[in-house]
């Protein structure tokens, strides 16, 4: 006598499987939502910091440059925010409405920050090292991924460097205006360094040639590190 098929067992198995399967789906959505809200909260914080810096700038307009904080808080959070936004874009897709909305907000914050930095530096006579980067992730820019790696590395190596990255195809009037001001052509990747446009892939060495200050910054840092080592050895 063969063991009978218990329909109840089949149904119970199906119910448990469906619960685990759709539970994983729900949980993954929940995690994605939490991540999006984390990105949103970082953006809100940056927005607040920017507003604070702008207000500080307005208040101290007539005062000495020393009283003005040259580095807005934005730069500190920039690196992690860029990575997190890029991660969400990879996971949820660039067309995801929430990702798109966060990306637009992020682009606006970058523009605001660049304007503020420009104003501060004009008043104080400092020449900031700034790179504006236009990319596309619609599959029409083979070198954009590599350029992204180069800029990420440069950003890690030179915290003084301010890199603002913009999706060339982002449907945002401020980004469109930025493109028209600098006359950026649809030949990507495109870099704007000190008001000059560079098209095509540029390696770290290429960028260091365009911006010799970067090399000097590194040398200064290496020298400082050597002095520190020498001092600690003497002790």
């Amino acid at each position: 006598m063969r063991a009978k098929i218990e329909t109840k067992k089949y149904i119970l198995t199906f119910v448990i499987t469906a619960m685990v399967f759709f539970g994983a789906l729900l949980a993954s959505n929940r995690f994605a939502e939490r991540r999006l809200s984390e990105v949103k909260s970082i953006e809100d914080k940056i927005s607040l910091d920017l507003l604070s810096s702008e207000t500080q700038f307005a208040l101290l307009k007539e005062s000495s440059c020393k009283a003005i904080d040259h580095s807005t808080a934005f730069s500190e959070e920039l690196n992690s925010l860029t990575q997190k936004l890029s991660y969400m874009e990879d996971n949820l897709g660039g067309e995801n409405p929430e990702v798109l909305s966060l990306k637009k907000y992020y682009s606006l914050l970058q523009i605001k920050d660049s304007l503020l930095v420009k104003q501060v530096n004009e008043k104080c006579g400092v020449k900031p090292i700034t790179i504006i980067y236009f990319y596309s992730n619609k599959g029409d820019c083979d070198e954009c991924k590599r350029e992204g790696y180069v800029l990420t590395k440069l950003r890690e190596e030179y915290p003084e460097l301010r890199i603002y990255s913009f999706d060339y195809n982002l449907d945002l009037s401020a980004v469109k205006t930025l493109k028209s001001i600098y006359g950026v052509k649809n030949t990507l990747p495109a870099l704007i360094i000190w008001d000059e446009n560079y098209y095509g892939f540029k390696s770290a060495t290429d960028i260091e040639k365009i911006v010799p200050q970067l090399k000097r910054l590194r040398e200064a840092r290496e020298k400082a590190a050597q002095t520190k080592t020498a001092t600690s050895t003497k002790k």
Partner: protein, 413 residues
């Protein structure tokens, strides 16, 4: 669009795989009370007469060990006959077995080479015992194995065949250690299939049958070099009960190199698919119970599901590796240790499902080891199994599918 299509297929396959794992899990909780250890009572009220046939072809190195393990069995000597059938060996097998010629329990038979099943059939014809079994000449039985099987036959009069628990004999290489865990996992799954009457193979090493099985359904016949599987399916087609006796342990030698393992597994995978096709009339037929509804469809379609899932993982892994290679070639190698940020901990749907599968897999391994060894001990074999099996198994599965599609057979060795 194309990606969504392939993802859709993947989700269906993953759902099916998860369904099966949950099914086995529920069966485990139903059966848990019956997964007892060996009985302390070493005596039986009745000892059925038994013949064990040892077919050998060029087994000069291992056959003596196999025979000694049979002679050490805890079973009355007058109830146990051992037939050694030399299937036309070209090495010294015949000379090696001569030292057992004067043992009254042992009968030596020599015949022209005709394949393993012909050697076993000859032994069956010569035997008058109530129970008849076979032991491959590269396997060794534990002392109480036959006693445990005979006990099971005594307790269940409807049981027509008993399969033992197979464990790997003295694993040395990385691949053998991997197979050890694979056998433990297989042992667990076979034990779960047993009460469901859904076993689809009576393996060569020490599967024991009542004599009437051969009288009713005939002897072994040529079946894609996996005659033990064909025979089990023939028994199932005749609604004969096959049970797994997990307390009867048999140690078997396993391939030590990738090539040998590939040849063996190709034969198994090809034979499984071909025999399932030959007995396809049982697939999805309620009268054949879980065997028809789960084991047989899994035997055939499981290979495709495995390969599809593997292809998906391989595609994405290669894609990631390429991206990493491009990154390194662009910016150079970075020695910096990446900082852990929970934000980047992968929790997308596929990743969460993978964690579930890994958990269920570990649960099965855990219980397989406990079933075989009495308690769980972490070993390198478990690590090798988790890391290596998914990489090497597609080699023989892919070739098996190819051979089935283009009707190319396999060889024994």
């Amino acid at each position: 669009m194309i990606e969504a299509f392939f993802n859709g297929i993947l989700y269906v396959f993953l759902f099916v795989t998860l369904y099966l794992e949950v099914f086995f899990l529920i069966t485990f909780f139903e059966e848990r009370g019956n997964l007892t250890e060996k009985s302390k009572n070493k005596k039986l009220s009745y000892y059925p007469s038994t013949t064990i046939i040892v077919p050998c072809w060029n087994e000069e190195k291992t056959v003596a060990g196999t025979i000694h393990s049979l002679l050490r069995l805890n079973y009355p000597k007058n109830k146990l006959n051992i037939f050694i059938v030399d299937d036309g060996s070209t090495d010294n097998t015949w000379e090696v077995i001569q030292k057992f010629a004067n043992n009254p329990q042992i009968t030596l038979i020599k015949k022209e080479n005709g394949g393993k099943h012909t050697a076993v059939n000859l032994g069956i014809k010569e035997s008058n015992s109530e129970l008849i079994g076979c032991l491959d000449a590269d396997s060794f039985v534990e002392k109480d194995a036959l006693l445990e099987i005979a006990r099971a036959f005594n307790e269940d009069k409807l049981m027509m065949a008993a399969t033992p628990m197979l464990v790997v004999h003295e694993p040395q290489t990385m691949l053998q250690k991997m197979q050890k865990t694979e056998y433990h996992t297989g042992a667990f799954l076979k034990r779960m299939l047993s009460p469901l009457d859904a076993i689809n193979v009576t393996p060569g090493p020490f599967s024991i049958f009542r004599k009437e099985v051969y009288e009713k359904i005939g002897l072994y016949k040529k079946a894609h070099n996996t005659e033990d599987m064909e025979f089990a399916l023939r028994m199932q087609a005749h609604h004969m009960r096959i049970r797994n006796v997990h307390t009867a342990q048999v140690h078997t030698k396993t391939p030590d190199t990738l090539y040998k393992l590939y040849r063996q597994r190709l034969r198994w995978a090809y034979g499984t698919m071909k025999n399932t096709l030959d007995y396809r009339f049982m697939i999805f037929r309620r009268e054949y119970g879980i065997l028809g509804m789960i084991t047989l469809p899994l035997s055939f379609f499981g290979v495709f599901i495995f390969l599809y899932n593997f292809g998906f993982i391989a595609f994405h892994s290669i894609q990631r590796l390429l991206e990493k290679a491009i990154q390194i070639s662009t910016t150079g190698f970075s020695f910096a240790i990446p900082q852990f940020d929970s934000f980047f901990f992968n929790t997308d749907f596929m990743a969460l499902l993978s964690y579930v599968f890994l958990g269920l897999g570990l649960f099965i391994i855990w219980n397989g080891v406990r079933l075989a060894e009495g308690r769980f001990r972490p070993t390198t074999g478990i690590f090798y199994f988790i890391v290596l099996y998914g990489i090497v198994a597609p080699l023989w599965f892919t070739r098996a599918v190819w051979n089935v599609l283009f009707s190319k057979g396999t060889n024994w060795r």
